[in-house]
Symmetry: C2
Subunit: 258 residues, 2 copies
């Protein structure tokens, strides 16, 4: 008999969709949660998109999702900075999702290196000048925060540089390592639990990527459900240092236990 979880934290890429293609049973699974009124939020390391962007993409795939159910690393970053450093003057390298999240949390975005906090997320308009300002600010003592450490991001052209790779320019130049917010860090999970309004014992983290999704659950003390529809293949399962709490080959298997 499987424990009845009172809320779900759910990964997107490789769990709900692959690029623009839906993952089989993802829609059915979320519709089941929705109909049974089991609370759920989506947890993503994507810092470039807003909550509205992500919810709209999910709804196109027949996955019920409201903007308030999307926990991006940008939101978790904005919230973490407020909780740990108060409302701050932030120098930001990043795209719209990150700028919007910081502004809406009440932070000020500066155009110069004169700031309290340097925040970096994926930025397809990165420039040397942005990296220079961020490096000067960090060396001058600004707090250094990175939305996530993903080394690469998949794209139809191949694996392109992820925010973890861009972040390295500043950490190598300055010798200062950032605080990372996204999966596998516990920070984003704690933010997601707060949105769900549940304590960690009552929630389940669902994801396909052992190194990020499942590790995030483990780091945060949340039970985990691994689904072999994305990055980590079933053939890796036996070699995992710490196993997930549960695993399924696809979400249909789990639906039957709800």
């Amino acid at each position: 008999m499987t424990k009845a979880y009172q809320g779900y934290l759910i990964d997107l890429d490789g769990t709900m969709y692959q690029g623009n293609e839906p993952i089989p049973y993802a829609s059915d699974f979320i519709q089941t949660l929705h109909h049974k009124q089991i609370p759920y939020v989506f947890v993503t390391n994507n810092s470039s998109k807003t909550q509205e962007d992500v919810a709209a993409k999910l709804r196109k795939l027949d996955i019920p999702a409201e903007p308030s159910q999307i926990v991006t690393t940008s939101l978790a970053t904005a919230s973490y900075i407020k909780a740990n450093h108060g409302l701050s003057r932030c120098y930001v390298i990043g795209e719209e999702g990150l700028h919007k999240a910081l502004r809406e949390e009440g932070h000020t975005i500066t155009e110069t290196e004169d700031c309290d906090v340097v925040v970096i997320g994926i930025d397809r308009n990165i420039t040397y000048e942005k990296l220079a300002k961020a490096s000067i600010a960090v060396r001058n003592g600004a707090t250094f925060i990175s939305t996530n450490g993903d080394k690469s991001i998949p794209n139809e052209r191949g694996l392109l540089p992820g925010n973890g790779s861009l972040t390295a320019v500043i950490s190598i130049c300055t010798g200062v390592d950032p605080v990372f917010i996204g999966k596998p860090e516990a920070v984003i999970m704690e933010e997601a639990l707060e949105v769900l309004g549940l304590s960690k014992e009552k929630a389940l983290m669902v994801g396909d990527n052992y190194a990020t999704d499942i590790q995030a659950g483990i780091q945060a003390g949340i039970d985990t459900l691994m689904v072999f529809t994305g990055v980590t293949p079933f053939s890796d399962y036996k070699q995992l240092a710490v196993a997930p709490t549960h695993y399924v080959h696809n979400l249909k298997e789990w639906m039957e236990k709800l």
Copy 2:
């Protein structure tokens, strides 16, 4: 009695000048070599400038220098690629000095990731698209070469990201480490010896930075003269793992031995 060296390899920043300011006795020292007809070349990790640019800057400071006496990491990179991989199709991230050196060596510069070699040098016009193309090419098997691993470059604003920091984006994204050409690697020193036309036993490497200049001499089996006018202070001397062959507080002391 000091060994009479038949040729000199000489660093620039911190040895000949600091930014735009001359280092005391640098001009007198080079004029002495010039009058005594002792061959010398300058060896620099700066990949952005051409030989003509560097020679012109030195002459403004009353330091006798011809373009042919300037060994930049760009020239060493172009020469290394030819010797080890033949004339190649190169995807290049870098500035004018690197593009010119590769073209003049006979290599082809591609605009796409369809290439044999990815070459990266400092590029103040870096874009995400350039980093993406380079990462795709390296993952597809292109040889990965970086002009130098300097983590930062000094500037009146502070320490800005150096080429070693930019290179990290590609190496972290792909998991492939590049071949570095500049100091402290021996590659650039071998290039400089070839320009001088001397075997390593007959030359002396002069520089202020233990981690780059002096290590480059040590790696290449060339005697070294450390001068305390730049990065490494005299107070560090006693803790050095491998001491330089000689040291002086300024180049006047060495001139007296010529």
